[in-house]
């Protein structure tokens, strides 16, 4: 394998990792604030991708790419908010098994609904003309769209950091992660905040799905495959930590790139190996949030 193709392989792995970060950040944010493990997170990713394909197809080829990239996650976020109001808010105080059952059942229902609404055929979305080419560096041609996905993930990471540390909404989220009751004593409507956080998580999953549309075929099954990867990323990074999700995605990207270069057939196994290794050394993940210190039954 020569230098050029190795560099392209590494970029491809980085692109996967970058997109995985966007999705895992949503999963981690929702877990941190709401303390629910949402197995339907992959469904939001799939719905984001399918909506992207459908919205894109509404216009003349290529015209609606950017509006669809924004609108698909927004619609999914609204759908997420409705699900939170109707279902998830009833189980915040329930044990984890109940949460797993509800969200797993929901993911099955959503998968079937998607199959009915969009059919079993795969769809494709070409990248916009401006990003369709390659960037030549030292004989290697890097796909521009891959670079865009990486830039988007960096922007999401910076945006989330700014949101959490520079805005009142972000302070409320961080306060809710620590002590939702304390936040309600500050006169803040915590149930409404939780709806917003859940919608933000769905937005990020769908943004990952919409952004990945030009890189792979869009269709049924993409929900469950991404869920496993997103969970590995958050478990490695530590559930509840955005920085952890970034670190976990970086670890996965690196392991995947190295695996693809040296032992391509074993590459998927290395990811699980990395997770096991991290869990043996640090059971709560690299940047895991500690358990909430306070509960109703003191």
């Amino acid at each position: 394998m020569n230098f050029a193709s190795a560099a392209i392989e590494i970029l491809s792995a980085l692109t996967t990792a970058a997109n995985l970060f966007v999705i895992a950040a949503g999963l981690s944010l929702v877990f941190g604030a709401l303390r629910i493990i949402n197995l339907a997170h992959g469904s939001f990713y799939m719905i984001g991708a399918l909506l992207m394909a459908s919205l894109f197809a509404l216009g003349r080829p290529g015209v609606l790419f950017w509006p669809a990239l924004l609108l698909a996650p927004l619609l999914t976020a609204g759908f997420g908010a409705v699900l939170e109001r109707l279902l998830f808010r009833r189980i915040y105080r329930a044990e984890h098994l109940v949460q797993l059952l509800l969200s797993y059942a929901l993911s099955l229902i959503l998968a079937d609904l998607a199959l009915r609404l969009w059919g079993a055929d795969s769809r494709t979305v070409p990248p916009p003309a401006a990003l369709a080419g390659r960037l030549s560096v030292g004989g290697a041609g890097f796909p521009l769209y891959d670079l865009f996905v990486i830039a988007l993930a960096l922007a999401v990471g910076l945006g989330l950091w700014a949101l959490l540390h520079r805005t009142r909404f972000g302070w409320e989220i961080r306060a809710a992660v620590e002590d939702p009751e304390g936040l309600s004593l500050c006169g803040r409507n915590v149930p409404a905040l939780f709806t917003a956080v859940f919608a933000l998580g769905a937005f990020l999953a769908a943004l990952g799905g919409a952004a990945v549309a030009p890189l792979q075929a869009i269709g049924p099954g993409m929900d469950s495959s991404i869920l496993v990867s997103a969970f590995i990323v958050t478990v490695i990074g530590g559930l509840g930590s955005i920085a952890g999700a970034a670190l976990g995605a970086a670890v996965i990207g690196f392991v995947q790139a190295m695996g693809t270069l040296w032992l391509p057939t074993w590459a998927p196994a290395f990811i699980f190996l990395a997770m096991i290794l991290v869990l043996v050394i640090r059971p709560s993940g690299l940047m895991g949030a500690p358990a909430r210190a306070w509960s109703e039954e003191e």
């Binding site: 009142r168 302070w171 409320e172 961080r174 306060a175 992660v177 620590e178 002590d179 009751e181 304390g182 936040l183 309600s184 004593l185 500050c186 006169g187 803040r188 409507n189 915590v190 149930p191 210190a293 306070w294 109703e296 039954e297 003191e298």
Partner: protein, 238 residues
Amino acid sequence: MLEVAAIDVYYGTSHILQGVSLAVRAGEVIVLLGRNGAGKTTTFRAVMGLTPARRGDIRFENKAITHLPPHAIVRAGLGLAPSGRRLFGNLTVAENLALAELPGGPWTRGRVLALFPKLAEIAPRRAAFLSGGEQQMLKIARALLAQPRLLLLDEPTEGLAPVVVRELGGWLRGMREEGLSILMAEQNARFALALADRGYVMEKGRILREGTTSELLTASELATHLALGPRQRPAENA
């Protein structure tokens, strides 16, 4: 101002409060005395809507608040400075204060910082790294910024050094002069009765006795039920 009428409160299936009634009139400082597990914190949780009462009524300024969510009760004019280390430890002091501030009342951030100048000095520090006295200051400041007309203080002297307890007494007198009514749960009866107009003694989820401070100070059961004085007390509170 606040009327709690025969409330019953449960944690799951355990019956914690059994027919608790008490009242606070505008301008009063009322103390709720009792040992660990007597039900003081639970009474506050019920008033604030954190653990709603299953039976009975709670009225604030002639408005029923029994079944309102906590944030609505706070916005109706009730504040709670909880016991223990209940701050947003990962947030800075400044962020803690900014989160707590609600508009439309007398307690602006400037006024609260004038009452607690120390908080301005430590504004960029994370709340988890504050001393016991600084944490108590921040908890009270946070509660004030939500513009309460009645402030509930749960174990304000808990874990404080004697010199800080004296300082706390000064803060509370200052807040009272500003027209704030106070309902305070304490195990340190001597500290509490020096500040209060009236008090209630709780035991096992019921009100055992009610009276003026002088009546309570001479009541014989106080000596047996309460540690009278700033003695070493356990850190945990029910």
